[in-house]
Symmetry: C2
Subunit: 426 residues, 2 copies
C-alpha cells in the first residue's frame, strides 16, 4: 500500500514551524509495518491544496492530510476536500455540541468561528478527536482514501494511534510485519562504521536485511530492518547481524532500540543504589536537564547546579578551588564539592570552555566517588559552537555510563582532536 | 519564481530525523523574498527519486535537493541527477584533493568511499562546501534548475546563504521584497486573537497585507506580511496594522520580530543592572537553561539550581522551609534563599506539581527582591504533561519580564483554569 503524508499550512511550508508532526506520523506508521512513500508540504492556498490532493489521489492508496482543520479563515482542508470529492459541506450537529461541551468544561463559551470546525464533506466518515475541537474525517478522492487530521501535535498523535493506523492496517490487508533493530552509539563517525560493516553487505542482501544509518549528532544510529510474515521470523533473520554490529560498536554502544543513553545509565546507577549530583558550566544545563527528564521520581538524580562561569559554579557548590588552577584540578574539586554538598554517592562536574581556535572547544569532566580520587576526562572537541556543546554534554553522560558499566572513560572518540597525530603545521 | 524543496533520505521520509533542514531553508528563502511553493520528501529509492525529480522539473523553476551526497551506498543524489539530466558522472579532481586535505588537517587519512563524493554529473556547476566533504552542484533537469546540497545541517545552512540564495535571487530577477512583522505573545489563544482581529480583515485585504498566525505553544506568533517594490514601501503599508495588533495584545506581547522572551527580559534586567539566581523543580531545568543560552556572558544570569523535589531544592539553596507549608510560602522562601545564596539582586523560584486530575498541573512562581516580600503567582495549567511543563516555564519567564517592565504578573492567561468560573460538577 502506497501511503502519502500531506502536511498543509503556511507555517509548515514557510518553515516557521518545524514539521515534527510529519516525523512522528512516519515513525509510528513504520512501527506498524506501514511504509510512507511520499511526503508533501503545501501552503494555505486553495489552488495548491487542490493540486496536491489531485496528485496524491493518483499516486497513493491512502493519504493522511495533516492541518487546516482549525477555526480560522486560513484553514481550508474541509472546503478543498469537499470540492475535490465533488460534494457539499454539511454541519455535523453532534460535533458542534461536543465543541460547546469542550468550552463549557473550561468555564468558557464557544467562539462563533468554531462552528466552522463541524462542517464536514457530505458522506465522509467521522473520525473522533477526544481532546480537541477539530474532528477528523475520511473520504475517497479518486481511488485514494484521504484521512483528514488536525495539526495540533497531541491531537494527531492520539488520533493516529487510535483511529488512523487501525483503519490503514485494515485497508492494507497485508500480513507483512517489520522487525527493526536499532543501535545507538557515540564516538564513531558514520563513514567509519559504514566502512567496517561493508563486508557484511553481500550477506545482508542475501538475507533480505537492510542496513541503514542515521547520524543524529552526536549520536549515530545503526539500523537493521527486515520484513517477514511474523515478527519472530523477521527478528530471527536479523539476529546474527545484530550480534556483528554489537561486536563492532563495542564500548561505544550506548543503548539498543528504544532505550536511551540516559535510560541506560540511570538503570545501571539505580541497580547500584547510587545517587548523583551534577555541577556544570557552559552546557546550558543540559546534563542535569537530560537526567531529570528521564528520572521523574528522582531516584538517582538529586540536584543540578548551573553556573554562569566556573568560578560562580565553584562558589555555588561551596568549593574553594583556585581560579587559576588547571581545568582538570578545578573540575575534580567541583565534582567532589558537588557530591559533598548534595550528600550523594556520585558527583559529576562538567566544564566547557572555548578552544584556542574557532571550531574547537574543550570539555573537562570529573566524576567524584566516596574516598577515591575523581575520575577525569578532558577532550578538545571539533565542530561548530552548538555541536561542541552537544558533544561535551554527550561525552559527560557517556563517561557516567562507562563508569557504571565498568568500562574505561578514556576511549578516544572520532569528534575529538588527537594531539599525537596533529600535523605540526596546519 | 516557483521553488520546490526536495528532501531526500530514508531517515527523513521515515520520520527518524525531524526535518529541521526544511524549515531552516524555507525560512531563509522567505526572508530573502523567495517563496517556497512545494515541499517534497522521498526516500533513498532510485525509482522514487527519479519520479520526484521529474515532477519537480515540471512544476518548479528552481529545485533545492537536500541530502543524498554522502559517501555511503544509500546516498543516490548524484547518480539519479546524472540519469535525469542524461549525462555521465565524472570525477572532480579538485574536490578529491579538498577532501584529502580535510582529513589530513584532522590527522587522518581519507577513507576510500569518500571518493564517491567527488563524482559529479558532467557539465554541472560546482557549488563549494567550505566545511564538509560533500560539495554541492547545480544542473538543469528539463526547464528547472536543480541545486544539490548536503544534508548535514551546518553545511546546508552555510551553503544556502553563501551560494544558493544569491543564485536564486539572480535567477528570479524580481524586485519584489517582503516586509514581515512578527508579534510574539503568551497567554492568549489563537482563536481569541483571530476573533478580535477579524474586523481588520477588509482593511487588510484592501491594503494587500496578509494576517497569519502560528501557534507555537506556549507562544503565539501573529504575523503581518506585505510584498512591495521596496522594503520601505511594504513596511509603510504594514505600520498602521502593526499598531493595532500591538494594542490588542497589550501586556501579553512578549517581543517583536527576531527578539525573544528571554532576550526582552535579559535586556530589561541588564539596563537595571540586575542579576538573577534561579531555583526550580519539575521543570527539567528549562528556566535556567533558556536564560543561560541567551546570556552567554553571564551578565544577568548567575546561577541555576534544579532539585529533584521541592525539599531537595530547598536544601540545595540553604532554605529551611517546612515540607508541609503551602506551596506559595514554600516557593517564596526558596526564592529568597536562592537570592541570598547567590548574592544576586533577584531570586526566581519555580515549583511545578501535578494537579488534582490528569491534564492539569500547578506552577508556583516567586520572585524575591531585596527588602520587599517576594512577588508570587500560582496557576493551574490545562493540557498534557509536556504542555503543562512548557506553560509553567513560559509563565515563570513571563513573570520576570512583566516585573522588569512594570506590568502586573497577575493577568490571567487562556491556558489556566479559572476557579471562579469552574462548574460545580464536571
Amino acid at each position: 500500500m502506497r501511503i502519502e503524508i500531506l502536511c498543509t499550512g503556511d507555517e509548515i511550508l514557510s518553515g516557521k514551524t518545524v514539521n515534527t508532526n510529519y516525523s512522528h506520523m512516519a515513525c509510528r506508521l513504520q512501527e506498524a509495518g506501514l511504509d510512507v512513500a511520499w511526503g508533501t508540504t503545501v501552503g494555505d492556498s486553495r489552488e495548491r491544496l487542490a493540486a496536491a490532493f489531485r496528485l496524491a489521489s493518483q499516486r497513493a492508496d491512502a493519504v493522511i492530510v495533516n492541518g487546516g482543520l482549525g477555526p480560522t479563515v486560513d484553514d481550508l482542508s474541509q472546503e478543498v476536500a469537499a470540492e475535490a470529492a465533488g460534494v457539499e459541506l454539511v454541519l455535523d450537529e453532534n460535533w458542534v455540541r461536543r465543541i460547546e461541551t469542550f468550552y463549557s468544561a473550561r468555564g468558557r463559551v464557544m467562539p462563533p468561528n468554531n462552528v466552522k470546525q463541524a462542517m464536514l464533506p457530505e458522506g465522509s466518515e467521522f473520525i473522533d478527536n477526544p481532546i480537541g475541537t477539530a474532528c477528523g474525517f475520511a473520504i475517497y478522492i479518486g481511488q485514494a482514501r484521504f484521512f483528514f487530521t488536525p495539526g495540533v501535535p497531541r491531537e494527531i498523535k492520539l488520533m493516529l494511534d487510535q483511529e488512523i493506523i487501525p483503519r490503514l492496517l485494515k485497508m492494507s490487508g497485508t500480513r507483512a510485519v517489520v522487525a527493526l533493530k536499532r543501535f545507538h552509539s557515540f564516538g564513531l563517525g558514520k563513514s567509519r562504521v559504514d566502512d567496517v560493516l561493508k563486508p557484511l553487505e553481500p550477506e545482508l542482501e542475501q538475507a533480505g536485511v537492510k542496513l541503514g544509518f542515521q547520524a543524529h549528532y552526536p549520536q549515530l544510529e545503526t539500523k537493521l530492518l527486515a520484513k517477514g510474515y511474523s515478527q519472530e521470523e523477521a527478528a530471527a533473520r536479523l539476529a546474527p547481524f545484530a550480534q556483528a554490529v554489537r561486536q563492532y560498536l563495542g564500548s561505544y554502544l550506548l543503548a539498543e532500540d528504544t532505550e536511551t543513553l540516559e535510560g541506560a545509565l540511570l538503570r545501571a546507577l539505580t541497580a547500584k543504589g547510587a545517587t548523583l549530583a551534577v555541577a556544570e558550566c557552559g552546557t546550558h544545563g543540559a546534563v542535569a536537564s537530560r537526567l531529570a527528564a528521564h528520572d521523574s521520581a528522582g531516584t538517582v538524580f538529586a540536584r543540578g547546579t548551573l553556573g554562569a562561569s566556573s568560578d560562580s559554579l565553584a562558589r555555588a557548590v561551596g568549593c574553594s578551588v583556585e581560579g587559576h588552577a588547571p581545568p582538570a584540578s578545578r573540575v575534580a574539586a567541583i565534582a567532589r564539592a558537588a557530591r559533598t554538598a548534595a550528600h550523594t554517592s556520585l558527583g559529576l562536574a562538567v566544564l566547557m570552555e572555548p578552544g584556542d581556535v574557532p571550531a574547537e572547544g574543550w570539555v573537562h569532566i570529573a566524576i567524584a566517588k566516596e574516598d577515591d580520587e575523581p575520575i577525569c576526562r578532558s577532550a578538545c572537541l571539533l565542530g561548530a559552537g552548538e555541536q561542541i556543546r552537544a558533544g561535551g554534554v554527550e561525552l559527560a553522560l557517556d563517561c557516567v555510563r562507562r563508569l557504571s558499566a565498568g568500562l574505561s572513560v578514556a576511549d578516544v572518540i572520532d569528534f575529538e582532536k588527537r594531539p599525537s597525530t596533529r600535523p605540526a603545521a596546519a
